[in-house]
Symmetry: C2
Subunit: 278 residues, 2 copies
């Protein structure tokens, strides 16, 4: 990664073809880290060459570009079915969708799948994928449902009472279950040496767990502060710190490419910020 | 598949080791089709040799066996992290969890991944996985949330009003979106010839979509009857029929191994049985 942290992002306003000479193209909504963030972090850690519609300024970027891409892929291609929704990754003639699927596709290609080099029979990608899926279920999808428990298309304000009930249940029953689970994974033999979830080396599941913990810290600061202080999940928080200190990720997090949490998956509402215990 | 439809299921009460000489071991709750059903259908279609704790009678089977397996895998093994929850698949020394992950592991091994034979670089498993994930998101996870929108650990009766609101939104806004999406996939070029989602041959995504449509038919009969009559999703319903008529699946569905829908993911409550339009 040479030049300024932003130098490889396409910022030209001279056309809608930002992928010229770039290997991967990420199509995701601008303005939030969102589901796209897990992919960005993996691409950054892997030193990949990519464009990101959310960060392309002017023509070819932003929400209009995302909507144009979705419309253009409405029928799919000869190789790829149409995607339902972003995040979408384009790589060669493939259009790949669904976050856990994109991560499983990218992981081995970016060197984020320890043990997967020994051929197609390697189990490592499946061991890593199950961890990533579990983190996304419990620490991304469920936190999203906390502020939209009854209708994803309605405003938060129209489901605020239900959101309070859901958030209290989440923080007090579900969150400790998932934090405890990942603590157990990190204490288990298959995690190997060091701070990582599987096989003694950084994988895409570590990147996902970092981003998930980072998001719930933003959404539920009271509970996460208490969880960290309790010491019960020390390995989970140590993993968060270790990913954050990876040189390429650190550089990325400090750049303007790292978007701020706002009205996406992870939202902070004071009335939903319950503490760990009732 | 020789003998009676039930002949390969272990029904002995003589010990907790049903996996002797059997290739795959499925660990899932008894009494409902549930998330395990997608795996059963794939194993049946692939003619695999497997045991199913849910159907093992007496010692070594049923819910106590599932709980014992979860407790035993609490720390994971040298090769596998601990699973969070069933379904769990054991294959050799691997413990594999997370439904979409188990399916992606099994699909190529059971001949349910067209085009994946041409080496590790084949994109087919990723094209199929994204379709399976989308079906599970919109036609299994969301229907589950319809009857448990605010607290998965609480009774339905304690969240009935929220469930009504969620179900109405689901049936009128979300369900048509997902049925329409799969209709588009089936009309797309990448689906190939015949009734299948991808590459002109049956894949695990077809099996998943069959089971999902089958489940929502049970949970929301009014809406699904209207959807079928509308003709807008004819290819989706044709796929359901085509999977149902596969000889091995047909034999399985007619056997006692096919458990009835009851208090699982797909539930029928008259008060949640909304019609497609307002």
């Amino acid at each position: 990664m040479s030049g300024s942290p932003d130098s490889k992002r396409q910022k030209t306003a001279d056309g809608p073809k930002p992928s010229h000479g770039v290997e991967y193209e990420l199509i995701y909504w601008p303005g939030i880290p969102g589901r796209g963030e897990h992919i960005r972090l993996c691409l950054e850690e892997g030193g990949a060459s990519y464009t990101d519609t959310a960060l392309v300024e002017g023509e070819g970027g932003g929400a209009p570009a995302v909507m144009a891409q979705i419309a253009a892929s409405n029928k799919g291609t000869a190789t790829s079915p149409p995607p339902l929704a972003p995040p979408i990754l384009r790589h060669g003639d493939l259009t790949i969708s669904q976050l856990p699927n994109i991560l499983m596709y990218l992981g081995p290609r970016l060197g984020l799948a320890p043990g997967s080099a020994d051929g197609a029979s390697s189990s490592a990608p499946y061991m890593i994928n199950q961890l990533a899926l579990t983190a996304l279920d419990g620490l991304s999808n469920e936190p999203h449902d906390c502020h939209h428990p009854v209708a994803v298309g309605d405003y938060y304000e129209d489901q605020k009472e239900e959101a309070k009930r859901k958030s209290k249940d989440y923080v007090q029953n579900r969150l400790p279950k998932f934090l405890g689970y990942f603590q157990r994974v990190l204490e288990g033999e298959a995690s190997g040496q060091g701070p990582w979830l599987h096989g003694g080396a950084l994988s895409w599941a570590d990147v996902v767990l970092f981003q998930c913990v980072d998001g719930v810290k933003f959404a539920f600061p009271k509970a996460l502060t208490a969880a960290e202080k309790s010491g019960k999940y020390d390995k989970v928080f140590a993993l968060h710190a270790a990913v954050q200190e990876r040189p390429k990720i650190k550089q990325y997090l400090e750049s303007s490419r790292r978007q701020k949490y706002s009205m996406g998956i992870y939202r902070y509402y004071e009335e939903l910020d319950f503490d760990l215990e009732g």
